[in-house]
Structure formats: structure tokens, C-alpha cells
Symmetry: C2
Subunit: 381 residues, 2 copies
DNA sequence: CGTCCTGTAGAAAGCGCTTACTAACCGCGC
DNA sequence: GCGCGGTTAGTAAGCGCTTTCTACAGGACG
């Protein structure tokens, strides 16, 4: 510590400016000078003072990544992919090049307030970019506050990328399958260009998944939804109901008692699946299938059903969503919908760094493919 | 952006110094002045310039967290717990208090080089603290470089905490069950105080786990080890062999052909478990139990065994390690060893912030409790 | 009534770096 | 021999904040 640019300069017999230029490589420096400086840097084990250079250059090497829950592999996988694009690349060299970015992963716990707090903190750090992952609360107040923060970030030169989330207010648009909306202005104020967004086809995936169950012959299908008023939850639920409605099956029409009865809202955790499955069974003992908001919930549901001595899939089918790594290893292997988390994260990371062109319309929707495995089968006659 | 302290000062009719003092609350300011300043801050939507204040105050709000693989719940859970102590607390308020810390989660991918790179980057940022999670490579060169980096960090005022890792060179000490070593000086140079460390009782947990299988009557037990030359891998393997040796069972003596034959090294991922189980079966068709380096590997092994038409636990027992959330939902529920990841992370976070006293001897070993579930049973006669 | 605290606020000197702007030097053509 | 572009290096002015030191009230006190 306390070895400064000036020390290096003195040792190399040049001015501080020259050292800075060698290190940043953004100005012609004679070869001999350059190597003299580099040697001094090495001998003194000089490490730049990040804050100082961020202040002087008015840019920082920090990239913020907001996630709901880093302990959840859904976010873990995305975060890992994002970081793989941002952090140090190969392992060939322990030296950290100048201008090397670092990701700050912020755990919001799904709390809108904390999300805003983190955005303020990132603004304070003058982050180079911010990636918001996963769905969000559909509360207009929150969305408004969010839009304001993001606008301020962008005004300050921070690149904003949404990964797995609708472009802001478009989130309240109902369940549009395609998802490719244009920018929608927030309340008052100039919206500026909408942040670039990568969204998942939750609606389409859910519709195909429930369609698969309907094709197998299921008609009494329970749904374990995630927390209410969140975009991801609603898109998946809407897809599910759209499939039911198209087949004229029970629960297809939102708001009807039938639909309410076959839907239980909970969290995205295992316990919600466990409790929710029991509740569904209580409400509708004749259930032949359960669709969960995600794989974790599905696993919890499986546990509950097994305790009730129901065999999967002989007595009851179960399906998840996301295709997290453990889905294929469940017994029986879980039928689910694959979300390209890794691809999405990697692409978001590149977009955040400006290393990839923004998609046309500033929004791209990634596919959600049905993965049929062993946890779903035709209902018993 | 571009609203500076001076702007706020002008608006409030005070000097910049006063505004700084109000914001930092570390100097007496008259109530009336204080509220005038706060109003100005509010009206101007002023946000401190983090780099500038870090430079002037020579401290930063950044805390580095190094993990091997953030997509792995083992690290995800710890990272989440660490952050819960460091990041914004309640959701009562969207305002970010001054001095609010942020965690930078760095994904090393298990690469020693990348670990060093990140440490340099953190040094550059003048991080307030650094938490290194999980085991490490046992290569003396790497350990030396690591010790040097950590010493430099500590010299610069960065607090260093190890979470789930032996205090540096103690890592090469053989499999000491207690783990409470004193500081061991690195090669040359003054060691200074060893970083505070929270370690897991991998050895003891593994020994109890294998002991459980032996008690059930198993004698031909295969072991799916993690990557060679990593502390966690070796401690668990050593514990396993210690239990075997104590019972006089096959494979208890390291280095013997028997021990080698019953051990397969791989990664900590699902595929390694799958491949490894098949390999074990090939080497020893009479296997009655498989112990895996962690739960993820165990799940992969289960998949492979099931494909070979072996029933768990009737035909073959399987055990994991860590007790990750999904272990209890495996079918059958996985017998494993519970590692208090959340508690460890939370405590490490508090230690990093200096909000908790370092344990006596600067090292505390956390218990690893055996969780007997349904995937283990007596072998068939 | 002058002095000495105590409580508040301002002036100003950096923190370590970047980056115009300026200066020196070189070889060149006229 | 002199002025001139082209290189390469140095000078110095900040970047926006913290913090020491100084200044100035207004009581309390002798």
C-alpha cells in the first residue's frame, strides 16, 4: 500500500503522467520508456488506486448485478454467466489488466425497496453498467421509482440491461406471448431510450407445458403459482390458463371460482411447494396433475405427494419450470420448461459491456422449451 | 449526476465541509443547519460520489467475496448469508445510508490464478474486507502467492476472513480433526496475525458418515472424491478412510491398491457423479454403498445407478455431503452431512465488518452433523 | 470586564490519478 | 541555416470529497 504513481515515476525517472499513460496504453510512449516504467511497477509491486483513477477519469470498473436470491440456482446460474463475461477471463495470467471490470452481485431478496437502495448505491459508485435479473413486482409505484432510478443511471453514463424482465412498464401489459414491445414511457418525465432487455418466453413455455398435460388427458390440473403480483408469476400463470382455456378445461378462465380453487399462490421455495400441494389436494382430491411455478416448488410438491402415498407419475403428474440442474436428477426426472439461463446471462454481460449489439427493438425474447421427462404421464382411467 | 457537494452547499447556504459533516454524521452540526442541508440534498437528489469519498477518506465501502462457483448452491448459500450481513438491512426504507457496504462476489471458477487476480483487483479497489469461501488448491506455490496477497491486503487495512477454509499453510497439515491450529508462517516474510478463519469439520463429518455405513454392515464402499489436491476433497476423503481403517474395512489405508481402486476423483458436479459411479461399478461390481464428495455428485451417482437398474437403498446405499436444500427432496431422501453454510456465511460477514469478535485462536471449527435419511440401508445379505 | 472554554462553521490543503496543454527534440525541405 | 510537422515527455489543473486547522460567537468565570 501507499506506493503511488509518483513513487513509480521517480523510480523509473519519468513523470507521473508518463506512468499513467503506460499503464493505460492510451497514448504513444517510446518503447524504452515503457519498459523502464513497467520494470519499476513490477519492482515496487505497484497497484493502482481504483477510487483515485475512477474519480479522475469519471468512470469506474464496477458492474452491478441485481438478483432476487443468489442462493437460488436460477439466479446463481445467470449471475455466474454474467460474471464470466465481465470478470477476468482466462487463467493464463494472475495479473489484472487495467480497466478490468468487476461484478457486484446485489441480493435484493425480492424486496422492491432493497432493489432501489442497491440502485442508489450503484449510482453512488458510478457503476459502468447495471444488469437487473429476473422478474419484478408489478406495483406501479415501484415501477415508477425504478424507472426514475434507471433513467438517472443512464443519464450518468451507466449502461442498463434487463435480463429476464420486461422493459419496465411494459410489465403490466398482460400476457403478450411475443414480448417484443416498443418502449413505453413511464409516468411523466422523458423516458429516453428504453434499456435493452432480454426476456424469457414464460407465457409460451407455460402454455406448452400445460398443453402437454392436456394432451396426455389431464383435466383436473392444480397450479402452484409463485408470489402474486410479480411478472414472472403472472406470465407463467397466464400461459397455463391460456392453455386450459383453449382446451375448454377447468380453471382456464381467470377470476372464476374454478380457476381460483385450482391455484395456490406461494413463494418460489421448496416449502411453498410442499404446503401448496397439500392445500391443492385438500381443495380437489381428484387432482391428476400439479404444475409448479418452478422446479424448486415442484420438488417440494413431490415430497408432499409422496408422503400422501401418491406415486409420481402413476397416480399424479408433476411438472416444474426452469430446468435447473437438479431437475433431471429428481426421481422421477422432472418434466419442465427449459429457460436458457446461461445464454441469457452471458449475453446480458456482453450487452452491459457494450461488446454486443443491442437486439432490434432493444428487446429480445429467448425461447422456453418444453422438456418432457418421467414425472408426467397419462392420468389413471 | 453532476450534482456535487458544492451545489448542495450553495443551495443550503453553507460550506461544503458542513454538508460533508452532516452526511457523515461524525461532527457536531447544529440542528437547524442540519435540516437545511438535508432539505437541499433532497431537493437536488444529491448522491455522493463514491470514488471521490473513497479517495479522500482512504477507505471504501466494498467488501470482496471470493467463491469457486456462484451457480453452486454450496457457495450461493454462503454468499447470500454473507451479503445479508453486509448489504442494506431492512426493507423499511429505500434510502441508502452513508457508509453502506456492498459485497462484490467474485467467481473464481476454482482457478487459483483467477483467485489471485481477483485479490489484486480488490486490493486496487481498497476493499474494506475480503472473505474467501470454500476450500483451496493445496499447491505450495499458490499458497505462497496467496499468503503474500493477503498480507498486502491486511497491510492496507483490509480485513481478511476465511470461510470454510483452513488458515493458509495449515491446509497442508494432514487431516487434523480439530482443525484449531495456530498461525503458521508462510515461506519467508513476516506473517503478521493470521486471518481469522471459520472452518468446517469435513474430516469428522466424513468419518461419521462412513461410520454410519459401516454400522449398517457395509464393507465394500466406493468413494467419489472431488478434484484432487484441494483441501475440502482431501479432508473428506481422509475422514472416510479413517473410518474404514478404524473398522478394518477395505480401502482404509491410503496409498494401497485397494484404497485407490475404491476411489474415483472427479469434479464437484453432477456429471462427475454419474461417470464416477459407473466407473466404480466397473471396478467393483460387488459394491454395496457409494459415498460422494457432495450432494450434487451423489445425485449424479444415483442417476447412474438407477440406470443400471440398481434400487436405492435396497440394492445399494448412497450418501452425499453438505445437505444442500435439494438433498431432502431427492428420492429417496439423501443421507448426508449437514454443513452450517448459512450460519458460517453470516458469521463471516459479521467478522468482515468487525461486528463480531474473532474466535479464540482466530479459528473456529463449525460442526458437520450426520443426517441419516432414506438413501442408506443395510446391504443385502 | 477581560479571558477562556465550548460549540459550530469555514478555508484550504490534500487524497492519487487523468489529461489538456505546453515544451523539447528530431530530421526535413527549401 | 531556418522554420516546420511529428514524436514523445513534462507541467499543472483539476476530479469531488474529507479533514485539519482556524475563526468566531456566546456564556461562564475570576
Amino acid at each position: 500500500m501507499s506506493v503511488t504513481l509518483a513513487d513509480v515515476a521517480a523510480r523509473a525517472g519519468v513523470s507521473a503522467a508518463t506512468v499513467s499513460r503506460v499503464l493505460n496504453g492510451n497514448y504513444p510512449v517510446a518503447g524504452s520508456t515503457r519498459s523502464r516504467v513497467l520494470r519499476a511497477v513490477d519492482e515496487l509491486e505497484y497497484v493502482v488506486n481504483g477510487p483515485a483513477s475512477a474519480l479522475a477519469a469519471a468512470t469506474s470498473d464496477l458492474v452491478g448485478v441485481l438478483v432476487n436470491d443468489i442462493a437460488d440456482p436460477f439466479f446463481g446460474v445467470m449471475a455466474s454467466a454474467i460474471q464470466s463475461q465481465i470478470g477476468p477471463a482466462g487463467d493464463h495470467d494472475a495479473e489484472a489488466p487495467h480497466g478490468q471490470k468487476m461484478a457486484i452481485i446485489c441480493n435484493t431478496g425480492g424486496s422492491p425497496e432493497r432493489e432501489l437502495t442497491y440502485l442508489t448505491l450503484l449510482l453512488r459508485q458510478r457503476a459502468a453498467a447495471v444488469v437487473l435479473t429476473g422478474g419484478t413486482v408489478e406495483d406501479p409505484d415501484h415501477l415508477g421509482a425504478l424507472a426514475t432510478r434507471l433513467r438517472r443511471l443512464e443519464a450518468g453514463g451507466t449502461r442498463v440491461v434487463l435480463c429476464g424482465r420486461q422493459p419496465l412498464t411494459a410489465a403490466t401489459d398482460g400476457a403478450a406471448p411475443g414480448g417484443a414491445h416498443g418502449p413505453v414511457p413511464g409516468p411523466e418525465e422523458d423516458p429516453g431510450p428504453a434499456p435493452v432487455a432480454l426476456t424469457f418466453d414464460n407465457f409460451g413455455g407455460a402454455r406448452r407445458l400445460t398443453g402437454h398435460l392436456l394432451d396426455l388427458g389431464h383435466r383436473r390440473i392444480g397450479y402452484l403459482a409463485g408470489p402474486a403480483a410479480r411478472t414472472t408469476t403472472r406470465q407463467r400463470l397466464d400461459g397455463h390458463r391460456a392453455a386450459l382455456a383453449a382446451a375448454g378445461a377447468a380453471g382456464g378462465e381467470a377470476g372464476t371460482p374454478e380457476a381460483e380453487r385450482l391455484t395456490v399462490h406461494g413463494g418460489y421455495d421448496r416449502a411453498s411447494g410442499y404446503d401448496g400441494a397439500l392445500e391443492l389436494l385438500r381443495r380437489e382430491p381428484g387432482l391428476t396433475a400439479v404444475v409448479a411455478a418452478n422446479d424448486t416448488v415442484a420438488l417440494g410438491a413431490c415430497a408432499a405427494l409422496r408422503e400422501r402415498a401418491l406415486r409420481i407419475p402413476e397416480d399424479i403428474s408433476v411438472a416444474g419450470f426452469d430446468d435447473l440442474p437438479f431437475a433431471i436428477d429428481a426421481a422421477p426426472a422432472l418434466t419442465t420448461v427449459r429457460i436458457p439461463l446461461h445464454e441469457a446471462g452471458a449475453r446480458a454481460g456482453r450487452l452491459a459491456l457494450g461488446r454486443e449489439e443491442a437486439p432490434a427493438g432493444r428487446t429480445a425474447t429467448l425461447p422456453a422449451d418444453l422438456m418432457v421427462r418421467a414425472s408426467t404421464a397419462p392420468p389413471r382411467p
